[in-house]
């Protein structure tokens, strides 16, 4: 492994029970070329300041809990190498933009959970299929139609990157909308119309201005921006159907 280098972690601190507001604190952190920003934060917590507060678990980019702003960009800290984000010898770490900080780097996740629930992220069917009828037939190309949107790990980096969400935290937002499309495109689901009606509301798909930053920051290539555009097309078709053929509005 490469010789140890030194870097300064400039970390945004905030203790809700403390007397001062948010401030930045610098820590000198040694690092090797194979270490990530999360390793640096753990070095601080274990050796310099046990009160530094942040969430993490899997350290392999799948649990989605360690999202933070690194040098102003939303990243998973377990997948961001220190060597790549410390050109001037400084790494700045902030809680994810657009969410309130509960303490230090821990963001308040509740607004996201509300939006997540809003899109009804489960299989909607008029009649549940009994277990005795066995598995559904789903061809590989049918799986491929929603697979990309099913890869979302709910890390909320896309919300932190979304200028619309920054202005209006009632906006249902990228990850939740991608999830809606994931179920709409699933051959086992019958809830497309119900969801499209839910999403064609003031805080739904039409609020998206297609800036596309959500897809840029997504660590799992879910492409929420693309998903939202697909939803706009589906919602438009449904709207036209309702206007032209009210009797056949439902599929």
């Amino acid at each position: 492994m490469a010789a140890e280098n030194q870097v300064v972690f400039r970390v945004r601190r905030y203790q809700p029970q403390g007397t001062k507001g948010p401030y930045y604190q610098d820590f000198r952190v040694p690092y090797r070329s194979d270490e990530v920003v999360l390793d640096g934060l753990n070095y601080i917590k274990d050796n310099l300041d046990p009160s530094l507060t942040f969430r993490w678990s899997c350290r392999m980019g799948i649990c989605g809990s360690c999202g933070m702003d690194v040098n102003g960009k939303p990243r998973l800290t377990c997948g961001t190498f220190i060597r790549d984000v410390s050109p001037g010898g400084i790494v700045q770490v902030d809680p994810l933009t657009g969410f309130n900080s509960i303490k230090d780097l821990v963001a308040d996740f509740d607004p996201f959970m509300e939006h997540f629930l809003y899109v009804k992220p489960w299989v909607i069917r008029e009649k549940q299929r009994p277990l005795s009828e066995g598995e559904y037939t789903q061809f590989p190309e049918e799986l491929a139609a929603y697979r990309q949107q099913s890869l979302c790990i709910n890390c909320t980096l896309c919300y932190a990157a979304c200028p619309v969400f920054q202005g209006d935290n009632h906006f249902v937002g990228p990850a939740s909308l991608a999830l809606a499309l994931r179920y709409i495109r699933d051959t086992r689901d019958e809830g497309a119309d119900e969801r499209l009606d839910l999403l064609s509301t003031p805080h739904g798909i039409w609020e998206c201005t297609f800036v596309g930053e959500c897809s840029v920051v997504c660590p799992k290539e879910v492409d929420p921006a693309g998903a939202i555009q697909s939803l706009k097309v589906l919602a438009t078709i449904r709207h036209m159907r309702k206007l032209l053929m009210p009797k056949f509005a439902s599929r």
Binding site: M1, P16, K45, C58, C63, S65, V106
Partner: protein, 569 residues
Amino acid sequence: MDRLAFDIVVVGGGAAGLRAAIAAAESDPKLTIGLVSKVYPMRSHTVSAEGGTAAVMRDYDNFELHALDTIKGSDYFADQDAVEFFVSKCPDEIVQLDHWGCPWSRDDDGKIQQRAFGGMSVKRTCFAADKVGFHILHTLFQESMRHPQIVRLDEWFVTDLIQENGAAAGVVALDIRRGELSYINSKAVVLATGGCGRVYEFTTNGFIKTGDGMALAYRAGAPLKDMEMVQFHPTCLPGTGILITEAARGEGGTLINKDGERFMKKYLPSKMELGPRDILSRSEMIEIREGRGFKGPHGDYMGLDLRHLGEQAIDERLPMVRELAEKYLGLDPIHEPIPVRPGQHYIMGGVSTNLVGETPVKGLYAVGETACVSMNGANRLGSNSLSECLVFGKSAGMAVAAFAKRTGWPRGGAARDALAKQEARIFGGLLKREAGSESLSGIRREMQQIMERDVGIFRDEKGLTDACAKLATLRQRFANVSVADKDRVFNTDLTQALELDFMLDVAQAIAWSALNRRESRGAHSRTDYANRDDANYLKHSLAYRTDGAPRIDYLPVKITKWQPAERKY
């Protein structure tokens, strides 16, 4: 939270806990279920499971064969009634998840695809690419949201079990975000907090796997069964311990030493790289000890070679393997072998339960990796653990629902007493204590190093005796740990201290159970007792907590129709 009482409290929001909560909710819509988890459920460690979920789904397979593979893999140490029950229920769980939207990988005819896995004699492992745990967890979590009677307490840390006249009557929990302790009354409690990999230094487990549920049950008087049976997975990335799925070998990947030799031909020629995990991990360690490992910055390692599979197969069925290798090692498995070595991965042992999750403590249930039914015996086969969470999650969920319906509410006095005790211990003790002489991270590191060195893949009397003594000292030194962060809100310094407290209990149970098993069986490999000894040790270990060393007792292994034989492949 205006009402801290639920018919049932489920602790843990991974596959086992969610499956239990959904089963309980479905069995009676009037039951209220409190799902208490120290993380948002989709962060639970189920998310990291990669390879698949075993079930008999095709004509070429049958229950008898799945049962025999499991029992043989367990080194004839699994309870055979549990295995028979388990294999018969797996297929329904696969179908159930399909109905709930799990994106199973499919064959060209639209049926759920199955792949080969270590120790399974036919293609039996259902999968959703190589992110099976992730997809199962998200499917269950999203399905659970359909049930309004499942009330989630996200980011609540359970510190103690409430017992009234010996029976489980709820939990005391810390609302991490508000920094307040509360009691939660219930008629029954289900523990589903997963494993305890973080007692080891080199583990595939996430940071949250600290054995909380095991320690909670242990403190409440329930025995921990077969804790010496710890699984080491043969393909982990050196340095981080990140898991490379067994599916990589199931799809045809090979293991090579530094001479390019497929060394498994010396150890297990009939199964090669698809042997059980305990045998593969030991073989790798022998290769490394005898100087045939590749040299690397994080120690010697073996090579996992996927080059011959080709880009298309890797991208279709092992995308996460490629992603992890590229991201964390900067190498592309299409062109280079992946460096791997064995690491702690799973514990076969856990809270002793029967087939429906009941522990010896009335009203207390355990399920998933937290529990030991026992269906994994001395070595679990890959892809049986997700199925275990589903099958026993459902059976425990249904059983606890029935129990809650016929049981009255606790009176409440015990809850107030338990809360007062926890407030004194945590807020009065840990948090008030001024700078102690010991550091939290220091004691944790020492514990992990002891476990790694002396309670690892190879064990002996001297090392285990030493480990037991050192762990006892660490337990005493823990009393001098202070929490530097005095701010109650989201105090992870405090929760890490509570986790370490739990882990020290669990580590002691593992070390003492290992010391007392003077034979080699499955994952428990004693260099001083190299053979399996059915005459003396065809019995499960039960560790009971005392003020000093754990008391070790035994329970016979249940044999139904497969007589213990030498494990030959």
